[in-house]
């Protein structure tokens, strides 16, 4: 999520510290794993905000963005990714996603969580999780197509 191992280790430490501080507030309203995930996600989001990297906050990512609605053009079929994706290009594109989209994409597509689990972790609706994931994938598609067009020109 932060794209840097040393930073990820620092955040792991911070998450455990937070766990130690807040374990007394766990009331069993949700599964402990959900609660813990939420806590860890908070730690990551705080860090992203601190670094000013959160170009779109989770709140904003959770709100519908009309300009990114389904009415947009998706270009000609011959510009598709043709089933092959440059892994490095995809990793870079994921890293460039706004934090809210990146979070949902990583939770669902990379880590394999279901929409109902993500909704519980992020305190949003299942429909919201589905639509944000879709937007994240659309953004990645756009980035990858731009990348392959650039490659083709070289």
């Amino acid at each position: 999520m932060v794209g840097n191992i040393a930073e990820a280790e620092d955040l792991t430490q911070e998450a455990f510290l937070q766990l130690h501080r807040k374990i007394g507030t766990f009331r069993g309203d949700s599964a402990f794993s959900t609660w813990l995930h939420r806590l860890a996600i908070n730690v990551v989001l705080m860090q992203l905000r601190k670094k000013g990297l959160s170009l779109i906050s989770l709140d904003e990512a959770m709100e519908p963005a009309p300009e990114e609605g389904p009415g947009r053009s998706f270009g000609a079929p011959d510009l598709t990714l043709a089933g092959a994706i440059d892994r490095l290009a995809l990793e870079r594109a994921v890293a460039d996603l706004p934090a809210g989209y990146r979070l949902i994409f990583i939770l669902h597509d990379v880590e394999g969580f279901e929409h109902n689990e993500i909704a519980a972790m992020l305190d949003c609706s299942i429909g919201n999780s589905k639509s944000q994931l879709h937007k994240a994938r659309l953004k990645l598609r756009e980035a990858l197509r731009a990348h392959s067009q650039q490659e083709a020109r070289l």
Partner: protein
């Protein structure tokens, strides 16, 4: 009846797509996909991206000393007499 059988536009189809994909239905079997190259290409790309995502970011094992560091930070926070750090009132983890 005629209205019911009217071919769905790309816009209408794409508006349904997040729910269609998210609910695990086979979007490729959708009537619109069978006749629309653009939306077929879009769906194929989204599936390719989701598929490729599973291979991303291999799990990195934390170093052996990470737990020692966590333990020592917790001890530091507790102080010499073992008092726990103050817990902010009503502090429940929440994304915002």
């Amino acid at each position: 009846m005629r209205e019911k059988n009217r071919m769905m536009s790309c816009e209408e189809f794409q508006a349904q797509l997040p729910e269609l994909i998210g609910s695990g239905e086979n979007a490729a079997e959708h009537e619109h996909i069978k006749t629309c190259d653009l939306c077929r290409a879009l769906l194929a790309d989204l599936e390719t991206i989701a598929e490729a995502a599973r291979q991303l970011f291999p799990v990195v094992e934390p170093p052996d000393n990470l737990w020692d560091q966590i333990e020592s930070r917790i001890k530091n926070e507790e102080g010499p007499d073992g008092a726990r750090g103050r817990v902010p009132s009503g502090a429940v983890p929440h994304p915002q």
